[in-house]
């Protein structure tokens, strides 16, 4: 078939599509839901960025206030008190928290990911952070269904829209006895089906692709826009494959079945299997091969270690001083509170982190193992594949959380290093201590790393599409009116 004839066919089918109220209504509904989902995602992404900026500003501002207080103290403008003394490291830095932020991923407007509270801000201080509770007051009823983000619309709703738009692409004509007439027009039935499904493809891909692109562009800072382009292109490619997969399935069933209702029920059954049942099987396979981190045991281990170190506090303190004799206090404590926090609490926090680090990291390592297995398991289910791919590109890959954990670890080490000797030895702070603070760079990930990770689900989607398309093509070539 020449390009011109294919073009004419597409125009003809587009007119038919636009003249069908149900098709137009469905596309409008899809556009509205997608638009709403992406709008929400864009707002969420911008809010996350704003929260992170505020956290960083607050940190800088609080520190500047402490610095100003120190200058006032030196100038004799303020007096010291039991809990106010800008020259004492224990009072200045023990309670100070510096944020480490993980900015939203390239495609964050498209997926809310696990939707935790906290805006991806990790607070770092001199104290151990492994005991942090991640407590939440959110009503979990609001989390149980997951967010209404674009990836939900794409992975779970879009196939149903495609199903309704294409389930009778040929079987409907057979039922109404029109197909012999169409077959006699000289255009092969396979081309007609291709034309009809091509229109559905263009309509759905066009609507979702445009809305997703608008969201990604609107949410990205200008300097990030170019960096996000490859992610967007990969995602749009996977969206095309995903839509193509469902339409090819529809074509393949229509080539065989004589009743539209039978084709509809068959497609619905496939949707239920791929969207609701096989993801459960995939999850079970992941759970067996890559068990989730055992958080309760982690908590008990941490508390047991706390108890042990508390009982051996004198030994812990001596080991800590032994590692660097500069840490030994150069003066006696001003109060029993200072004595406890400087000589007992802080050395224990340092040792606690040294001993517990492998356990804390193991939580993230296990999540990475789960994610890797889940990417393979997703081959069972295209909806799961596109969901995984989108979550990864939106910044929710466990590998990124592991990178954030490592970056936070490094920053905390630098932060402690900066104040460690002054705090432990009770030497007075100087103005130089207030300047040139260690800064935590936002946790970032190279684009190539993200895209390499996307190869597995993208390959799965490509394989799924090629299989479905080959099956459809073979069946359509033999399909009769």
């Amino acid at each position: 078939m020449s390009g011109a004839r294919l073009g004419r066919l597409l125009v003809l089918e587009t007119r038919t599509f636009l003249a069908t109220p149900l098709s137009v209504a469905l596309i409008i509904a899809l556009a509205l839901i997608s638009g709403w989902a992406v709008f929400g995602g864009t707002i969420r992404t911008l809010e996350t960025r704003a929260h992170q900026a505020v956290a960083l500003e607050q940190h800088a501002e609080t520190w500047a206030q402490k610095r100003a207080a120190f200058i006032d103290l030196q100038a004799g403008r303020i007096e010291t008190g039991m809990f106010v003394n800008p020259a004492r490291a224990d009072l200045v830095v023990m309670s100070h928290k510096a944020p480490v932020v993980t900015p939203p991923g390239a495609l964050a407007p498209l997926s809310a990911g696990p939707a935790r509270e906290g805006n991806d801000i990790i607070a770092v201080s001199m104290a151990s952070r492994y005991g942090q509770q991640n407590e939440t007051i959110e009503n979990p009823t609001n989390r149980v269904d997951g967010p209404l983000d674009l990836i939900f619309v794409v992975a779970w709703l879009l196939p149903i829209v495609l199903l309704v738009l294409s389930y009778d692409v040929l079987a409907g004509d057979r039922e109404t006895q029109i197909s012999p007439l169409i077959a006699s027009s000289g255009t092969p039935l396979s081309k007609i089906v291709l034309g009809r499904l091509g229109v559905v493809f263009l309509a759905t891909f066009g609507v979702i692709g445009c809305i997703a692109t608008a969201g990604v562009v609107a949410a990205a800072p200008l300097d990030q826009l170019v960096h996000n382009l490859p992610d967007l292109v990969v995602w749009l490619g996977s969206l095309g494959l995903y839509i193509g997969f469902w339409l090819a399935l529809s074509a393949s069933l229509n080539a065989r079945l004589r009743h539209a209702a039978a084709a509809g029920v068959a497609l619905l059954t496939i949707w239920i299997t791929l969207s609701l049942v096989t993801p459960v099987l995939a999850a079970q396979w992941v759970a067996v091969g890559a068990a989730a981190p055992d958080r309760l045991t982690y908590v008990l281990q941490y508390r047991a270690l706390q108890n042990d170190l508390a009982e051996r506090s004198a030994e812990v303190r001596e080991t800590y001083y032994g590692a660097n004799p500069e840490r030994r206090p150069v003066r006696g404590p001003f109060s029993e509170y200072e004595e406890y926090f400087v000589e007992t609490y802080y050395p224990r926090q340092v040792v606690l982190d040294q001993v517990f680090f492998p356990h804390a990291r193991e939580i993230h390592v296990r999540q990475v193992a789960q994610a890797r297995r889940l990417r393979l398991a997703a081959f069972l289910s295209p909806p799961l594949m596109i969901k995984r791919l989108t979550d990864d590109l939106a910044g929710f890959a466990p590998e990124r959380r592991l990178a954030a954990f490592d970056a936070t670890e490094q920053f905390q080490a630098a932060w402690r290093e900066r104040f460690d000797v002054k705090l432990a030895s009770r030497r007075s702070l100087t103005l130089a201590d207030y300047d040139d603070l260690p800064t935590a760079s936002p946790v970032s990930e190279a684009g190539a790393v993200r895209l390499v990770r996307a190869i597995t689900p993208l390959g799965g989607l490509l394989a799924g599409f090629l299989l479905a398309a080959a099956l459809a093509w073979m069946r359509l070539r033999r399909a009769g009116p």
């Binding site: 269904d145 709703l157 509809g264 619905l268």
Partner: protein
């Protein structure tokens, strides 16, 4: 009518597609329950071990200051009813543990979905209850949608109505047959589930377990019957089974797939839960600054110092014959609790408002009501989690009072440092929790159950209307 019902059931049984779909549903429900059983057993074993070890760690924490012991605190974890094998409810997303310690009200932490990728939403539906409500609902609607329209398409309806049978009786009979077809896979499963939960229940809780299971299944059955009636009504209105299928599929997608997420979105827009960090900082600010006529902490502390001096006739607190630091901790905790209670009441009001919004939305999407009832009867809804948290909070406050009394008794004047040991820690008994009964759950779930019943009657009314207008 009965003969029509018998004939409809025979037709459905002869239709291989129904048998396969029913068998698949039964298989999926059974598989989900077996997986649920394994998760429940493992989870309960973990929970018991966790609670015991956490309490042992509390007792064995060695000599230290009672306030540091209270800051170390202990963990408790919410127990589950046996029905959780079928309906895990909020388990994946609600925190499993509460850390009870000195400074603030406990909030749930360590939700399975925070750590486990396979517990994330969107990975299919793993629980038997969710499968029954989702796939069972679809099955019921499709069953209904194909019934009348198919008879119209094949001309069977014209023949039957030509025999003088009233359309209402004919549709009533068809519905009875379809109900029987729907119940075929569900009844054996229900018997199996009731037996399982009764067997898994602790001694003395068998009837409660049976009651909860029967209530959850009953609510789900009302929901499924309502959907079946809607399916038949749509079928009676539609000229073709294709049309009927498209309509019921759209209704199912809108009501069961889209509505829950839209409901969460709307709920959070209308009645957002405060951000945890903001919530904590508001309490902190009020603690420091006071509210209404109540002064902030510094002023209260100054008043306490004056009153202790006056009570004992002291010129300095260092001379106090009791531990002032303990009295200060008592006052600080009492003030913290007062401020926290004010805000907690507002938080509970927000949860109530969220629940009310969901109840209103479930008038339009009965799937929400069916699920809320199922979660509630299984003891796995937010109300049950809050009941547990309230009991744990009471326990937390009690052991904090004991620790502060130990400071009062163990120090003198303004001194802070002291050590207490195991006998002091043992003053706090192990935490025990009594799950609320079925009556409590029923009272909490009456709006959801009422909506389901109303939907059933509404669907039957629609069906009667469709039967009245039935044309071959």
């Amino acid at each position: 009518m009965l003969s029509v019902a018998r004939r409809e059931l025979q037709l459905q049984l002869r239709d291989g597609r129904l048998a396969i779909a029913a068998l698949l549903l039964l298989l999926l429900l059974s598989a989900a329950t077996v997986v649920g059983w394994a998760q429940y057993e493992k989870g309960e074993a973990q929970r018991v071990r966790f609670a015991e070890e956490s309490y042992a760690q509390w007792l064995n924490q060695g000599p230290k200051h009672p306030h540091r012991a209270a800051a170390y605190g202990m963990y408790v974890a919410k127990p589950e009813t046996p029905l959780a094998v079928f309906e895990p409810g909020l388990r994946p997303f609600a925190g499993r543990t509460l850390w009870l310690q000195a400074h603030s009200n406990a909030a749930f932490s360590h939700a399975p979905a925070d750590d486990d990728l396979t517990a994330s939403p969107g990975l299919g539906e793993t629980s038997g209850a969710a499968l029954l409500q989702l796939l069972g609902g679809l099955f019921a609607m499709v069953l209904g949608a194909l019934s009348v329209a198919r008879d119209r398409e094949t001309g069977v309806m014209r023949q039957i109505l030509a025999q003088g049978i009233s359309p209402r009786r004919w549709i009533g009979g068809k519905c009875l047959g379809l109900v029987a077809a729907l119940l075929l896979p569900l009844v054996p499963f229900a018997i199996l589930l009731i037996a399982t939960t009764a067997w898994a229940a602790a001694e003395g809780a068998v009837w409660a377990a049976i009651g909860r299971t029967a209530a959850a299944l009953g609510a789900t059955l009302v929901y499924l019957l309502g959907l079946l009636a809607i399916g038949v009504a749509v079928s009676a209105f539609s000229r073709t089974s294709r049309g009927a299928l498209v309509v019921v599929l759209s209704l199912w997608v809108a009501g069961s797939v889209l509505a829950p997420r839209a409901a969460s979105l709307l709920t959070l827009r209308i009645a957002p839960t405060p951000d945890a960090a903001v919530y904590a900082s508001v309490i902190r600010d009020e603690f420091n600054g006071g509210y209404g006529e109540r002064p902030g902490w510094d002023d209260q502390l100054a008043a306490l110092e004056d009153s202790v001096k006056a009570e004992y006739g002291l010129s300095s607190l260092d001379e106090a014959p009791v531990g002032f630091s303990g009295l200060r901790m008592q006052a600080m905790d009492a003030w913290t609790n007062e401020v926290a209670d004010r805000h907690h009441a507002q938080l509970l009001a927000t949860y109530d408002r969220q629940q009310q919004i969901r109840t209103v939305l479930s008038v339009f999407a009965p799937y929400l009501a069916a699920r809320a009832a199922s979660h509630g009867f299984a003891g796995m809804d937010w109300a049950h989690y809050q009941h547990f948290a309230a009991a744990a909070e009471e326990y937390r406050r009690a052991f904090n009072v004991q620790m502060n009394e130990a400071i009062v008794a163990g120090t003198r004047g303004q001194a802070w440092e002291m050590n207490a040991g195991r006998e002091t820690w043992a003053l706090a008994p192990p935490f025990t929790y009594q799950e609320p009964g079925l009556g409590w759950a029923l009272r909490a779930q009456w709006p959801a159950v009422s909506i389901l019943v109303a939907w059933l009657f509404g669907a039957l009314g629609l069906l009667a209307f469709a039967a009245q207008r039935l044309r071959p």
